[in-house]
């Protein structure tokens, strides 16, 4: 947990106050690149106190001093329009806030300076200690844009440092500037003429504000206040008697500020007219073309699935093999017993289930972050907006939905960029229908068992094709459900804007992609990893222990049979294991739900896996591992072969045939089997109502789809 706030003196007496740096700037100004550069893999995701907005922070050392850096959500103005932007305003406007910065690094895009200066001058006007970081100077130079840094500093009243976070130039100058201290800013850019009517003076006096601009924001947010104190009632009366119109004042501020910014801009910046159209424009003519644009997008999606599925296979097999070698080494090295059993089957089994994910997460997040880095993701929103609208979603829903292919948890958080409450809620509710990476191990396992290898037209693998079908199914289900919920959930009181910037295309940098992937894997290992390991151990216990008398009876039965030479001891041991699992708590649970699962083609073993999967879908494979290694004497045989040779009870046909395979895959495609997602939906919607609805509708959908598939295919 992030706790290096104003904690004062630590127990050891060492001063633990870390200087706080805040990164503030427009979206796409290179803020995150600088953040990565400063903190590297030393990042953590936390929460701002009292709100659910993610706080990306990290520690770094600058000129021998430790700093805590907070990467604030990108915004064009400190007037908040979304929960994300609200954080920026609430932190910067309250000096008592635990995240209130000691220094604000105002990140400006040198190639797009005018708009960067809008929020920069707002922060300066609030009187916060600030430093202007003129980023992307390489792009600006290429575009023939020249900025007089010294004059800019004079006009803004703060120091200005030129850097290029991408090329890592100017960083040592930036470090020196940060360490030089003595920051102050007191410039005013917009004369709001509030003093004249005395209102702001009174507000400043009562709230001990240092400047008029803070009073201005206080007044603009006054109507949101709940119970008012005596002083606030006085202000309220003044607002009424002075006819203060917050909305009008904010609009006036925007116009005046743009004029002031334009003035600074034209004095400091010279841009050569660019004659030929930029590369970005040319690319956009193709990539957002009504035919080619859509085709390229579809091909890209197809390539992503094929890459993730095919490239991850080899490293996953490697992990699988080395983990089973490790397990056999450990089980041979230690004396047999309960502890060895726990270590080999529970702990190492669980560990395999965690590590096996890394190749897929790395590949998928790698590809997604390449698309994001390159600027293509914004085009996806643009391309898809009209298409998403009939479903009650918007172009911005596409990124959470595509992100849902990796993991619903961060994607649901990413839905915050959607301004409209309803469109955001719909996106949150349907994102878990997208096939996340946790389903991939289940799909891979079932596809390997029931779908033959081989190629359609000589190069399109059947197995990859089925996987693609499952992904499309998730997408279609998400859209259809959204369209239905669109009729049920009531509309927003106020419409929200759908306006965003299309950044210039850039070559993605491997290092940035690497850092993103590294942090994602770290998050997965620490968050989901713990749950998976806990489930693996609980599962081991459920499958190992059971009602005492049943266990004793099984052992007695076989002891007698071996003694009377009816059975050799090896077979007896195998049978004891199998029957013990059946008699265990897990077996009892699986059997008790078997009647409900029979119409879907599932047996009690799958029943056990379904129960444990409600914690996280990927646990299915781990459960299958445990179940089949516990009930089978041949430890060297791989899970795949074991499952293939499993027979449907009472027949000599395989249990995992095409019908059961599809039924199972569809169940996993639709069912809400992820505690973490439910928890995130609860925090994001601030009620248990929505996760409950989500759990129920997805469960019903899963049962129905599996039932139909099994009935048709068997």
């Amino acid at each position: 947990m992030y706790s290096q706030g104003r904690c004062g003196l630590g127990k050891s007496g060492i001063d633990l106050i870390l200087k706080k740096l805040a990164l503030i700037g427009n979206p796409n100004c290179g803020k995150s690149t600088l953040f990565n550069l400063l903190t590297g893999l030393n990042q953590k995701v936390g929460n701002f106190p009292g709100v659910t907005v993610d706080k990306l922070s990290g520690n770094c050392k600058i000129e021998g001093e430790d700093y805590s850096v907070i990467d604030f959500p990108g915004t064009f103005s400190i007037n908040p329009k979304s929960p994300d932007e609200e954080v920026v305003f609430s932190v910067l406007s309250q000096p008592t806030h635990p995240d209130f910065p000691d220094l604000v690094l105002l990140i400006a895009d040198a190639s797009n300076l005018k708009r960067s200066l809008f929020i920069a001058t707002q922060v300066i006007e609030l009187g916060l200690p600030a430093l202007l970081v003129l980023n992307m100077t390489d792009v600006a130079e290429k575009n023939g844009i020249e900025t007089n840094v010294e004059l800019l500093g004079n006009l803004l009243g703060i120091s200005v440092v030129k850097i290029s976070a991408r090329n890592q130039t100017g960083i040592s100058e930036l470090n020196k500037a940060i360490a030089s201290k003595g920051f102050s800013s007191s410039k005013t850019f917009v004369n709001l003429k509030l003093i004249d009517n005395g209102l702001s003076g009174r507000v400043m006096e009562l709230n001990h504000f240092q400047n008029e601009y803070a009073a201005f924001h206080y007044l603009n947010h006054f109507s949101e206040k709940g119970n008012k104190t005596e002083e606030e009632q006085e202000i309220e009366q003044l607002i009424v008697s002075e006819r203060y119109d917050a909305k009008l004042m904010q609009r006036q501020e925007a116009i005046l500020r743009y004029r002031a910014v334009n003035d600074v801009f034209t004095q400091t910046t010279k841009a050569k007219p660019v004659l030929k159209s930029s590369i970005s424009e040319k690319l956009d003519n193709v990539l957002t073309h009504k035919f080619w644009g859509l085709l390229i997008f579809a091909v890209l999606l197809f390539l992503i699935f094929q890459t993730v599925f095919n490239l991850s296979r080899l490293p996953m097999e490697g992990i699988d093999t080395s983990m089973s070698i490790l397990r056999s080494i450990v089980s041979h090295a230690l004396s047999p017993g309960l502890f060895t059993n726990l270590l080999v089957e529970g702990v190492l089994g669980g560990l395999t289930g965690i590590v096996i994910f890394i190749p897929q997460i790395a590949l998928l997040f790698g590809l997604i972050s390449i698309l994001e880095e390159s600027g293509y993701m914004a085009r996806v929103s643009f391309l898809m907006d009209k298409l998403m609208r009939p479903f009650g979603l918007n172009g911005r829903s596409v990124i959470p939905l595509i992100g849902g292919i990796a993991c619903a948890v961060p994607s649901i958080l990413a839905a915050r960029t959607i301004g409209s409450r309803k469109e955001r809620l719909l996106t949150i509710l349907v994102t878990p229908l997208m096939s996340c990476s946790a389903r991939l191990p289940v799909y891979s396992l079932m596809i390997s068992i029931v779908i033959p290898q081989g190629y359609f037209l000589g190069f399109i693998g059947y197995q990859g094709l089925v996987l693609l079908f499952l992904y499309f199914l998730g997408l279609i289900a998400a859209l259809v459900v959204a369209a239905i919920l669109n009729f049920i959930i009531k509309n927003d009181v106020r419409r929200h804007l759908f306006v965003f910037e299309m950044p210039e295309y850039r070559l993605p940098r491997l290092k940035a992609v690497g850092i993103t992937v590294g942090n994602k894997i770290k998050d997965f290992l620490t968050e989901a990893g713990g749950v998976i390991m806990a489930i693996a151990i609980v599962l081991w216990a459920l499958a190992t222990f059971g009602p005492e008398t049943n266990f004793r009876n099984i052992e007695q039965k076989y002891t007698v049979q071996v003694q009377t030479n009816q059975l050799d001891s090896a077979t007896a041991i195998a049978n004891i294991k199998a029957e013990k699992l059946e008699a265990s708590f897990a077996g009892i649970m699986g059997k008790s739900i078997e009647p409900i699962l029979k119409p879907l083609g599932f047996d009690w073993k799958i029943g056990i896996a379904l129960i444990t999967s409600f914690a996280a879908r990927e646990v299915f494979v781990g459960t299958m591992n445990t179940i089949y290694s516990v009930s089978d004497s041949d430890t060297d045989q791989k899970l795949l072969e074991r499952m293939k040779s499993e027979l449907r009870p009472g027949t000599n046909k395989p249990l995992f045939d095409l019908a059961t395979g599809f039924s199972l895959m569809l169940f996993y495609a639709f069912a809400m089997q992820c505690m973490s997602t439910l928890a995130v939906v609860k925090t994001e919607t601030k009620s248990w109502k929505w996760p409950a609805i989500q759990f129920l509708y997805m469960g019903a959908l899963a049962y129905l789809a599996s039932f139909v598939a099994y009935s048709v295919l068997k």
Binding site: F76, S77, N79, K81, N112, K114, R115, F118, K247, Q250, R251, A254, I255, Y258, R259, A271, S280, E281, D284, N285, T288, H289, K290, F291, G293, L294, A378, S381, F382, L383, D385, K386, L387, G395, R494, R495, H496, L497, F498, V499, F500, E501, M502, P503, E504
Partner: protein, 78 residues
Amino acid sequence: MAQKSTSLNILQVGDSANITGLDENPLSLQLLEMGFIPGEQLTVTGFAPFGDPIRLRLQGFELCIRKEDAALVKVELI
């Protein structure tokens, strides 16, 4: 050429126009902060595959805006 008053959602690809004002609407503040300031010039550079949203160039950067939101922006064709 005679100047023509209209709103942003009516413009065609390649059209350039000056912003003359914004509708009285709570959403207008966000448009102002995105750079839709009266007096600025914009150029429509394209439409999304299904005719909406609009892609446009404003103050040297590329923006995307839905037609229904663009209707708030009053412009004069150049």
